[in-house]
Structures are given as C-alpha cells and as structure tokens.
C-alpha cells in the first residue's frame, strides 16, 4: 500500500466551479501536509502548508486535514483556466525526517472556459 494515495482523476470542470482534490495517507508519523501545483515541464509550486487538523484558507484555496481519518483535501473556489495543472499532495514527518516528503501520484485538473 502506498503511504499517500491520491484520487487519480483526471478532473475536468467548467470555469467558476468548486474543485475538490483528495488524498488519504497511512503513515501515522506524518505531522504536516503540503499541496503543490505543477504545470507541465515545471517544478512543483507550493500552494498550501498545514501542520494540524482543521482548515486553512488562502484566497481561493482551502486545505483541510483530518488526522483521525488520515484524509486531506484541497478545495479551489471559483476555478479559473489558469488553475489547470497537476496537483500533488504530500505528507511529511517531523524531527530529523523533516523535508523528506512522500507524494501522491497527482491529479490532473483541467478548467475549461
């Protein structure tokens, strides 16, 4: 079993839709979680960083973590064509393991005008 499982998609939504991207994880040592956006042939760009259960909002993006069910989500409101990209979730443990992220396989999102 992979440590981080991500809904494979791909997702195709109309402009303005609310997008929900989801991941589950199995490693109880994970303390923090990240969502990255990756455009084709580019490096991952950090969108959200969360360190505890609950919601974190940044503009049109909301990250949700439920450590009891080992479930993380990213919501995108008022989606735009420029949001079309691959979205990666990742989990990491603390201490000496900090920075050693375990990634999901990514969800390809297309927002069409």
């Amino acid at each position: 079993q992979k440590e981080v499982e991500q809904d494979p998609g791909p997702l195709s939504v109309p402009e303005g839709a609310i997008v929900s991207l989801n991941c589950t994880y199995s490693n109880s040592a994970f303390q923090y979680f990240m969502w990255y956006r990756q455009y084709s042939r580019k490096g991952p760009e950090l969108l959200m960083y969360t360190y505890s259960s609950g919601n974190k909002e940044d503009g049109r993006f909301t990250a949700q973590v439920d450590k009891s069910s080992k479930y993380i989500s990213l919501f995108i409101r008022d989606s735009q064509p420029s949001d079309s990209a691959t979205y990666l979730c990742a989990g990491g443990a603390g201490g000496t393991s900090y920075g050693k992220l375990t990634f999901g396989q990514g969800t390809i999102l297309t927002v069409h005008p």
């Binding site: 990255y36 580019k42 490096g43 760009e45 900090y98 992220l101 375990t102 990634f103 990514g106």
Partner: protein, 114 residues
Amino acid sequence: EADIYQTPRYLVIGTGKKITLECSQTMGHDKMYWYQQDPGMELHLIHYSYGVNSTEKGDLSSESTVSRIRTEHFPLTLESARPSHTSQYLCASSEHREAGNTIYFGEGSWLTVV
C-alpha cells in the same frame, strides 16, 4: 518566489556518458534534496543533505551520487548514464527549523539517455 536554480533544464546524452546536474539556492537553506519524477508518476526522494559535508540516500534507490561542499550548491552526478536514468530530477531546499517552513523546488532537469 523560490530562489533555487537547476541546470541544465533539458539534456539528451548517450549511454555511458558522465553527467552532472547542478542545483544552487541563494536562500541560505541548510537542507537540500533531490527528487526523481518519472512522467505521470510520484516524486521520490533519492538524496538529501542537512548541511555541508552531510549527504544521505533517500527512499528510492538511485545510482546517482551527490556532494555538498558548499551550503548553496548540491550537484547530482551519474558516472555512466543508462536509458533507465531517463527521468525528471527535481532539486529542493528548506530551512533547518520546522514550524512554518516551506520546501521550495527548482524548475527541474529533464534527462533523456539514448
């Protein structure tokens, strides 16, 4: 915006050649990482460093080697490239402390071995 740079961005080389992928960051970060990403697949950690003269292998076995002689520089070397090494290599860095930190990635180096 992250100040982490990778060169070359794209490279096509023949089997058996030695190559070095360069990675530099200007943020003074102690920790640096190399991830490998095959098309459509997850990123996997292949090397990391917590500071000068510190290097460790990651979760995914790799025939590449790394060095960390200067804080800002973390090159990756393949002594004899093979077609199985064809992949995207991503360099990343982060500060030493945990809370509130982010891990920044470079743009990646796309390697094709023919």
